[in-house]
């Protein structure tokens, strides 16, 4: 057979079911691809032994007629999902050498379905970043390069390892997490399909927390159907997470009918940013035409509080982070630095000073500030109120439309160092993804074309709460229309 790593999940599933392929063969091919992909720096921990063991178990499961969509499928796991006995450090020095005694619910669901773990994936430290440049383990390289150039680009973030491994054929799918766009923006930068479900759809149990009210697990795959299959595997209520919601998980794959006739697609006027590259506007316009051609009705909508989304996000998320990251104190696990003759406070200061990177420290300080006495009302409380207004905007819009179509990011992938010295420019990358995160709504990024340099661009589809099916259905139609078949050159192999 040709290169097994080029298979999609649905294709591999059918071959496995027919007995034309074993999970061991598929897994061995992927283990080799993971090795070869070292130049991408997508994996920060490889687990080939575990993978082969799981592959053999999956083959037995398939033989026994007990297979489901993810059985035997090799995947990568973002480093913030706890995996028992395996590197789980959210790519931070402060969790140096930490291996949990427990498994996250999301990964447990994958293993229960028979999926295969290739290793742990690089990410921005504690998922704080939009370029994967803040990882303690160094940046991830985007598999995509500009036409005729050997220059490297960022893969986006924070799920940089997830998208690079999937776009670089070193995993068939990857878990990811989205707090303000960490699934959708890197998916757009790498020509992959990323979906963040409704807040509460997946359990956060065993996910290293960044901002608890925003964090949500999701998936990166090479197409929409694979996303539907993998998302279904990781979704579902978990009594161990009070914010997960007890409603049935639909058959997501069944939603991919390709039929959006009569559906209403909203175009938020506030997303036409001044100074946005013409290519992005053009892509969006193209997306609108595809919707019309598929028989959907396109309507202009207003989300008037959109301009407040980024500032709101950069108050709420750091506030929660400043508290969530307090547990990394050098007392019980991970990195510890005790200065000579130092006391408890000296240990805290030294441990956290060299355990956290600059971006994490910046957000801890912002978060601490906005929660401080005298500032709480002006910042945190106000931000919570605005967050409600943003959610209300969407609620009103979704009374009129079934889905919303926007660009995923205001630009294609950028070069290393281009924005890392300018936090505000970096934060602007999430301008289209953050509002839906604040509202807890499901959203996807679908590969829709290339820019003039040959770098991928994505369109974002947003849906009503708990209506991932519509998001997937519309995403599938875009995928069909875009006929996105471009692939990165395998320059690292």
């Amino acid at each position: 057979m040709s290169d097994l790593t080029k298979l999609k999940i649905a294709e591999a599933r059918d071959l496995l079911a027919k007995g034309d392929l074993t999970s061991r063969e598929l897994t061995e091919a992927h283990i080799a691809a993971v090795e070869a992909a070292d130049p991408l720096n997508a994996y920060i921990e490889k687990t080939p032994e575990i993978a082969l063991e799981q592959a053999d178990a999956a083959d037995a499961k398939i033989k026994a007629g007990d297979a489901s969509g993810m059985t035997g499928i090799p995947v990568g796991i973002k480093d913030l999902f706890a995996t028992k006995g395996v590197h789980t450090q959210a790519c931070s020095k402060i969790l140096d050498s930490f291996k949990p005694e427990y498994e996250s619910t999301v990964t447990q669901k994958l293993w229960d379905d028979g999926a295969v773990m290739l290793g742990k994936l690089n990410m921005d430290e504690f998922a704080m970043g939009s370029s994967n440049e803040t990882s303690f383990y160094g940046p991830v390289k985007n598999p995509w390069r500009a036409k005729g150039s050997n220059n490297d680009f960022v893969p986006g973030g924070s799920s940089g390892g997830s998208v690079a491994s999937v776009a670089g054929y070193a995993a068939m799918g990857a878990t990811a997490s989205d707090t303000g766009g960490s699934i959708r923006q890197p998916a757009a930068f790498t020509g992959t399909f990323g979906i963040k479900p409704t807040y509460g759809r997946c359990s956060r149990y065993g996910m290293v927390a960044f901002a608890s009210s925003l964090d949500q697990a999701g998936t990166i795959t090479r197409d929409v159907r694979d996303g539907a299959i993998m998302l279904e595997s990781i979704s579902g209520f978990d009594p161990k997470d009070s914010t997960s919601v007890d409603i049935p998980v639909p058959n997501f794959e069944a939603a991919l009918t390709g039929d959006i006739r009569g559906m209403k697609i909203g175009i938020p006027q506030e997303y036409h940013l001044a100074g946005m590259p013409g290519e992005i506007e053009a892509l969006w316009h193209q997306g609108i035409e595809w919707m019309k051609a598929a028989g959907a009705e396109v309507v202009d909508i207003n989300l008037p509080h959109t301009k407040y989304a980024l500032p709101t996000y950069y108050i709420v998320a750091p506030a929660e982070a400043s508290s969530n990251l307090a547990r990394y104190d050098g007392v019980r696990y991970g990195h510890r630095n005790v200065p000579d003759n130092g006391g408890l406070v000296d240990m805290y200061e030294a441990t956290r000073a060299d355990g956290f990177g600059d971006e994490v420290k910046r957000r801890i300080m912002i978060g601490t500030y906005v929660l401080s006495a005298g500032y709480y009302d002006a910042y945190y409380l106000k931000a919570q109120k605005v967050r409600q207004l943003i959610a209300d905007d969407f609620k009103r819009a979704f009374e009129k439309v079934d889905a919303i179509l926007t660009p995923t990011a205001p630009s294609a992938a950028f070069a290393f160092g281009e924005k890392s010295d300018d936090p505000l420019a970096m934060y602007l990358n999430d301008v289209f993804t953050v509002p839906a995160s604040l509202a807890g709504l499901p959203g996807s990024s679908v590969p829709a074309g290339l820019d003039s340099n040959g770098l991928p661009l994505g369109l974002q589809v947003l849906g009503k709460a708990w209506d991932e099916e519509t998001v997937l259905k519309v995403s599938g139609v875009i995928e069909q229309a875009a006929a996105f078949t471009s692939q990165p050159e395998l320059w690292w192999r």
Binding site: S104, A319, D329, V331, L344, Y376
Partner: protein
């Protein structure tokens, strides 16, 4: 009303006291994790991944702890809030694994209520309860295990506490003591906290300020973590004195947190207002607001036993006890239960109404049994004489089998040996003699043997009646029925 005053050089000062009591909730498991909560386990033996704040671990509310807080609120006649919110209180300490304590700040589960203090000589006073909220306890730092290191025990980490906050309604150390005593009694009655201050399952922060009578409230100091009622009283006394001395010397009181040192009998500064933590409270995003319905509240209400105040008034009104006895009996749940069993058994054995035997039962219990227990250093739970055994003894008096006098001797043997009253009476031949013929014969013998005394009696020395009664009792080893003796003796002496 209390008139406790501190005599200053310039004036009399009034002390104003508010208490924040941390009461460990009796429950199967911790507030947000499944870990057990038993006292005295090996260090770090009762720690879940949540309690140790491992990365990615999430709290989930233990409904039993909520039910216990609601029951406590109902027992204090307090407002129950069907909507409340858990907040994070952020600060760093080695025994606080999360780096924050999950507590309730703006929206506590229980609002305002009342506690009635039982003061001396039947006086009482109402003290307001401002709120009760649920929160996690911290772990314990142990500084004495190693010369260089501090050890941390997380067994207590995450255990549910009720913080019960009073209004600044108390005006003397005695009232503060009475508040804690009464609160502890109520908590033990309803089984929401064991109230064991020496084990730390109930602890008090004491807010103290002073003012000249009629002046507005002074600046308060908070004395942290006082662990006995006696120390609370002492701490208030010395702290109030300290404040008066400072003010009278022209100084001002700094709002600060202080610690009480019972060995030195002084409070000292722990941290000033400037050093106070900024806790950066905000709603815990890992937990949804806590909401429950009326049915939950009503079920909690239905599960409450008769409360001490209700029981006391029933003892007084239905059973005829006086205020003091009723107060003593209801102060401890075990004592009141002992009493109720005792009364029921005596009534059953004597076929009388409970009201007709209750006062005697109360007298015997608070006098004889409590006295003996006290002397032996035992609690009512450790009594060698059960309520049923006590009832048998009282029934023997009631049906004239033995006299009250003999009963005292029988009780002593019961207390020492644990034997039943009937068996002792039988064994020692202590049955009261009520046979008139037999007693009459003894009386005749005694009158005949004491002619001088008879003469004096008949000459008007009435007091000698007692002498003759004593002689008869002596001759019968106390077994003669005193009623029968009196009835027969007087006519014979009078001639």
């Amino acid at each position: 009303m209390s008139s406790y005053r501190i005599q200053g050089a310039t004036a009399d000062w009034e002390v104003v006291i508010g208490l924040e009591v941390h009461a460990q909730v009796i429950s199967n498991a911790k507030l947000f994790s499944g870990a057990a909560t038993e006292f005295g386990a090996e260090p770090n033996a009762q720690v879940s991944l949540v309690d140790a704040a491992m990365p990615g671990m999430l709290p989930t509310i233990n409904g039993e702890c909520v039910r216990q807080a609601v029951r406590t609120g109902l027992a204090l006649g307090a407002q129950i809030n069907k909507f409340s919110v858990f907040d994070r209180k952020n600060y760093f300490y080695a025994d606080l694994p999360q780096g924050y304590q999950i507590s309730q700040f703006k929206h506590p589960v229980v609002g305002e209520g009342t506690i009635v203090l039982d003061l001396d000589e039947g006086a009482s006073k109402e003290v307001g309860v401002e709120r009760i909220h649920l929160e996690q306890d911290a772990g314990k730092s142990m500084h004495d295990q190693h010369p260089q290191f501090t050890y941390v025990d997380l067994n207590r980490s995450g255990v549910a506490l009720m913080e019960i906050v009073s209004m600044p309604d108390m005006r003397s150390p005695e009232e503060a003591g009475a508040y804690l005593t009464k609160l502890r009694t109520i908590l033990r009655y309803i089984g929401t906290c064991d109230g064991n201050m020496e084990q730390g399952s109930m602890r008090a922060d004491v807010n103290v300020s002073v003012r000249k009578v009629g002046d507005p409230l002074g600046t308060r100091c908070e004395i942290k973590n006082v662990n006995s009622i006696r120390f609370v009283r002492q701490a208030i006394e010395v702290e109030a004195r300290r404040q008066v001395d400072i003010i009278e010397a022209g100084g001002t009181i700094d709002q600060e947190t202080r610690l009480f040192d019972p060995n030195k009998g002084e409070t000292r500064s722990m941290r000033s207002k400037e050093e106070a933590h900024d806790y950066r409270y905000f709603p815990d995003p890992d937990l949804l607001p806590l909401e429950f319905d009326d049915a939950f509240i009503e079920a909690a209400r239905d599960s409450l036993p008769e409360l001490p105040d209700e029981k006391k008034s029933r003892f007084m009104q239905a059973l005829g006890l006086n205020d003091y006895s009723a107060g003593v009996l209801v102060a401890e749940k075990e004592a009141s239960e002992f009493f109720e069993t005792l009364v029921a058994e005596v009534a059953k054995a004597t076929k009388k109404d409970a009201a007709d035997v209750a006062v005697k039962a109360s007298n015997w219990l608070t006098g004889d049994l409590f006295g003996a227990l006290n002397k032996a250093g035992k609690t009512i739970a450790e009594t060698p004489v059960s309520a049923a055994q006590g009832a048998e003894l009282l029934a023997l008096i009631e049906d004239n089998t033995i006299s009250g006098r003999i009963a005292k001797d029988v009780f002593e043997i019961m207390f020492e040996t644990g034997k039943d009253a009937g068996a002792i009476v039988e064994e020692k031949g202590l049955k009261q003699v009520s046979d008139t013929g037999e007693i009459e014969k003894i009386i005749d013998d005694i009158i005949a043997a004491n002619p001088n005394q008879l003469e004096q009696y008949r000459a008007g020395k009435d007091k000698l009646l007692g002498f003759f009664v004593g002689q008869v009792m002596k001759a019968t080893q106390g077994k003669a029925n005193p009623g029968v003796v009196n009835k027969l003796l007087k006519p014979k002496l009078d001639g």
